[in-house]
């Protein structure tokens, strides 16, 4: 009996594969109804299925396949031409066959459904008069294959009586039909067996690490040589076994043309799909994990992204929309892009919906960058579908996509241009089980950080001068970019020996789409580690991705970079607003650090101007100030220098802030601080309350020009500081002074 079971299993596996190929062929045929080779291969596939299942006793399947075969033989012989109705009918045939196979697989029998409707449909489709000569070809579906082509298994079977006259295994022809796979050199292996092999290799890697550690201190040359050899062999074995689990992403993508066709038809749209990078290889478990997310993304693009043909032609686009999928390796990751040339994502609509659903407040919406708004589509409970269709739009789609991708350590990102299209990008690390990692020590404990998330290592010797704080968040300026810092000891509540002001080791990591710096006590080295999953009790702790056994036999925890980032709030929306506002969505005067002169205006109000606009800082006695036609001036270096009183023009309360006023009490022997600016060949003086400091900052304004003469505000040394527009101010002064009649 085992012979038959194995045979059925083999039949099922082969048939599923063939059905997938059928789907592809049908869709391709729809675009090109004259492709004879496709017709031939389709016919052979159905014929094979019919024959085999007849031999195995699946009569229901056989009768369904038989009706399809009749139709297909006429198509193959050119008597009928493929059209939309026929394609749909044949796809229905394929689905019915798949369904019956499913019953056979799960229940062992063909299921209780009666496929009379499908058969009727096919018969009706077949009932069309031939397009060429009335001489109908005799329904001889396939050439008789001599008995010796039937493989040995059939001989061993005890029920030859079940076999009909038609041969069962079209030996050589069947191989041709499955020619897309690497026939002959390939062998089927159970995935569980491969998993076991992977585990064993993992254990071997651990043992190898331990051997290397212990022998590194030995002097025995023979031992060292052997250990080295063991090392090389293990590495190669590891690479080899990992390769066995790699499959081309094309295997997954093969299903997509059919899905796109079905969805497009259901939505009355025209869409074609193009794919690049089918041969890009992924581990089988990753393929499984992204199957559903990718399917959803595609359905979404066709349903919501691509417009109807009418809309498209009105917009000047081709009626047929394009869905472009691309996969490639980059930097230890696999990148998968899905691009459509549809209507793009309207961020205003997205924000409005998010406010409606209570996901964000209107304040937050106002402050959001384009990128943040686009990423709202991944928020739980979000959907902008005007009508919820069967296809997508039930509001559970994109956030599930994101969760599933993140579960395997990947990230998903969206870019869009309204009217032009949208691109979704999924990035996934290449392997899961054995990864290179950076080992660090902090708080007396060792931790491993997956190298795939590692960007760089920075060591700063004097933390007090390089680490700044904005709104309580420590930041480090890395080549012009603000890097939020996370202190590992603090996050994990470890004993911390370091104190502020000493050196710091910063591990720059990428968590999701954000970068942050992890401050640790000590950086050890990189090693290959085997990732062991966490026990149930630990799975709740989001900062740990797993555990591993180090070379010395002790256990070390593996940090989950994304989890760490989320916990420390460097990727939460709230925090992004702070850092984002400071670095991305705001206007910046330049990317370089500038020297600014910081001064107080009155009553604690602060302003700053670029040091480059300052000629000199002068301190003059109040008594030297003179009046000239409504403007205060002072004699300066042989010139009459007009003065502008900053507090008066820009102060919060001009009335009381006047430095220069006629109050005699205030006109004591006070000194007045003047910032001298040279404009063309004239001097202009800005009167301020007090010069505070000269600071070096990358000037980042947080608001656009608030008023005339002020460029905006920035946070300098933790204080809100207005940046004076020196040019405008100077012009104001000079116009006034020049406009005065002599």
């Amino acid at each position: 009996m085992t012979g038959i079971d194995d045979l059925t299993k083999e039949f099922l596996v082969e048939s599923y594969e063939n059905l997938d190929q059928l789907d592809r062929d049908f869709v391709a045929l729809e675009h090109d109804p004259h492709a004879k080779d496709k017709l031939g291969s389709i016919f052979r596939t159905i014929h094979t299925i019919k024959g085999t299942c007849g031999c195995l006793g699946f009569s229901k399947l056989e009768s369904v396949a038989h009706v399809g075969e009749n139709l297909l033989s006429r198509l193959r012989d050119g008597e009928l031409l493929m059209d939309v109705e026929m394609t749909s009918g044949l796809l229905k045939l394929a689905d019915s066959i798949r369904e019956i196979l499913g019953f056979i697989e799960s229940a062992g029998n063909e299921g209780g459904k009666d496929y009379a409707d499908v058969k009727e449909l096919l018969v009706r489709l077949n009932d069309t008069p031939s397009i060429n000569s009335p001489a109908a070809a005799a329904a001889e579906p396939a050439p008789m294959v001599p008995a010796d082509a039937i493989p040995a298994e059939a001989d061993a079977m005890a029920v030859p009586a079940l076999c009909k006259e038609e041969p069962v295994y079209d030996g050589p022809e069947r191989r041709v039909a499955a020619a897309d796979s690497v026939a002959g050199n390939a062998i089927r292996v159970d995935v569980t067996l491969l998993d076991r092999l992977m585990n064993l290799v993992g254990e071997l890697v651990l043992a190898r690490n331990q051997v290397l550690q212990h022998t590194s201190s030995q002097k025995d040359a023979a031992l060292l040589r052997t250990a080295q050899r063991l090392n090389l062999i293990t590495t190669e074995l590891q690479e080899g076994v990992m390769k066995t689990r790699m499959q081309p992403i094309g295997n997954l993508w093969n299903k997509f043309p059919r899905i796109v066709r079905d969805v497009a038809n259901a939505c009355h749209k025209k869409v074609r799909i193009e794919m690049e990078g089918r041969e890009t290889e992924l581990d089988k478990t990753i393929l499984e994990a992204i199957k559903d997310p990718l399917t959803h993304i595609i359905r979404n693009s066709v349903d919501h992204g691509i417009e109807t043909p009418e809309h498209r032609s009105t917009a000047g686009k081709a009626e047929e929309g394009l869905l472009f999928m691309r996969a490639f390796h980059e930097g230890g990751q696999v990148i998968i892009e899905v691009t459509d040339d549809g209507k793009g994502i309207n961020t205003e609509v997205v924000k409005r919906k998010a406010i409606e659903k209570g996901l964000i407040t209107s304040d937050e919406a106002g402050r959001m960058s384009e990128r943040e708004a686009l990423n709202l589509i991944f928020a739980a409970g979000f959907s902008t579908a005007e009508r919820v269709t069967n296809v997508s739009g039930r509001g559970v789609g994109m956030d599930v996509v994101k969760t599933n991708v993140e579960k395997i350590g990947g990230t998903v990102d969206v870019q869009s241009r309204q009217g032009e299209g949208t691109t979704l990008r999924i990035k996934i690390p290449l392997t899961l089980a054995i990864i290179p990692a950076l080992v660090v020590t902090s708080g007396g404990e060792r931790f491993a950080i997956p190298q795939v998330s590692l960007l760089e290592l920075v060591r700063i010797d004097e933390t007090s001068s390089f680490i700044e704080t904005i709104n309580g968040t420590p930041l480090y300026r890395l080549r012009g970019n603000l890097l939020p810092l996370v202190y590992l000891n603090r996050e994990l509540k470890l004993d911390s020996e370091s104190s502020a002001g000493t050196a710091a080791n910063i591990v720059v990591l990428r968590g999701g789409e954000r970068q942050f710096g992890l401050v640790v006590d000590q950086i050890n080295d990189t090693e290959e580690i085997v990732v062991k999953p966490l026990a149930k009790q630990l799975k709740r702790i989001s900062v740990f991705a797993g555990a591993t056994i180090m070379g010395d036999g002790r256990v070390a925890l593996i940090l989950d970079v994304l989890g760490m980032a989320q916990r420390a709030n460097v990727v939460s929306r709230g925090h992004e607003a702070v850092v984002g506002a400071a670095s991305e969505s705001s206007m910046s005067i330049g990317n370089d650090r500038q020297l600014l002169l910081l001064f107080s205006v009155s009553g604690g109000q602060r302003m700053a101007i670029p040091l480059s606009t300052v000629s000199r800082l002068e301190e003059v006695s109040r008594t030297t100030l003179e009046d000239a036609g409504g403007t205060k001036v002072v004699q300066y270096r042989g010139e009459i220098m007009p003065l502008i009183e900053i507090a008066g023009r820009f102060g919060a309360s001009p009335a009381t802030a006047m430095v220069l006023d006629s109050d005699p009490a205030r006109q004591a022997a006070e000194v007045v601080q003047i910032v001298v600016h040279r404009h063309d060949d004239r001097y202009v003086g800005l009167v301020v309350e007090q010069i505070l400091d000269v600071v070096e900052e990358r000037l980042q304004l947080q608001k656009a020009a608030a008023r005339l003469g002020v460029l905006g505000t920035a946070i300098i040394k933790d204080r809100v500081t207005e940046i004076l527009d020196v040019q405008t101010v100077v012009r104001m002064v000079l116009n006034v002074s020049e406009g005065v009649p002599a």
Binding site: E445, A535, A547, V555
Partner: protein, 146 residues
């Protein structure tokens, strides 16, 4: 002829505790543990058991008893729970005992709190009581705060 069951016994503080012998994988001496930051305090750490990473749960803390004194190293009772292999940290390991099922009694109503959750019942032995603990419940830390 009455039924008998076998229990692996050990001491945790003043308590004499037994666990069904069928679920005990091994009982071994102190193993070096790696602390897990942010875990509940009952979870003392992770140990390397012949290549397998096993969670170690301190029964003293789990039963809310006073902490072990400095320098006293716990022993490991490695059990198979429904969620995998777990090591229970105990003070001293006792013998494997055969007990008479008829000597079993439900825990008294006066027993409250954590002990009530973990202790399935009591065997009246000649001169002491054997508390029966369910390893699955002992290893279940989901209700505890992190």
């Amino acid at each position: 002829m009455s039924d008998s069951k076998q229990y692996c016994s050990f001491y945790v503080g003043d308590l004499f505790i037994g666990v069904d012998v069928c679920v005990v994988q091994e009982m071994i001496r102190y193993q070096e543990m790696t602390r897990v930051p942010l875990a509940p305090i009952e979870l003392r750490g992770l140990i390397n058991l012949r290549g397998q990473i096993v969670t170690a749960i301190d029964l003293r803390r789990r039963l809310q008893l006073a902490a072990r004194s400095e320098g006293e190293l716990p022993m490991n009772v490695v059990v198979r729970t429904s969620d995998g292999v777990v090591s229970l940290l105990v003070d001293e390991i006792g013998d494997v005992l055969s007990v008479d099922v008829s000597d079993f009694e439900e825990p008294p109503d006066t027993l409250v709190g954590v002990s009530r959750e973990l202790i399935e019942g009591v065997y009246k032995l000649k001169d002491q009581l054997l508390l029966v603990v369910d390893p699955d419940k002992a290893a279940d830390l989901s209700a505890l705060t992190v």
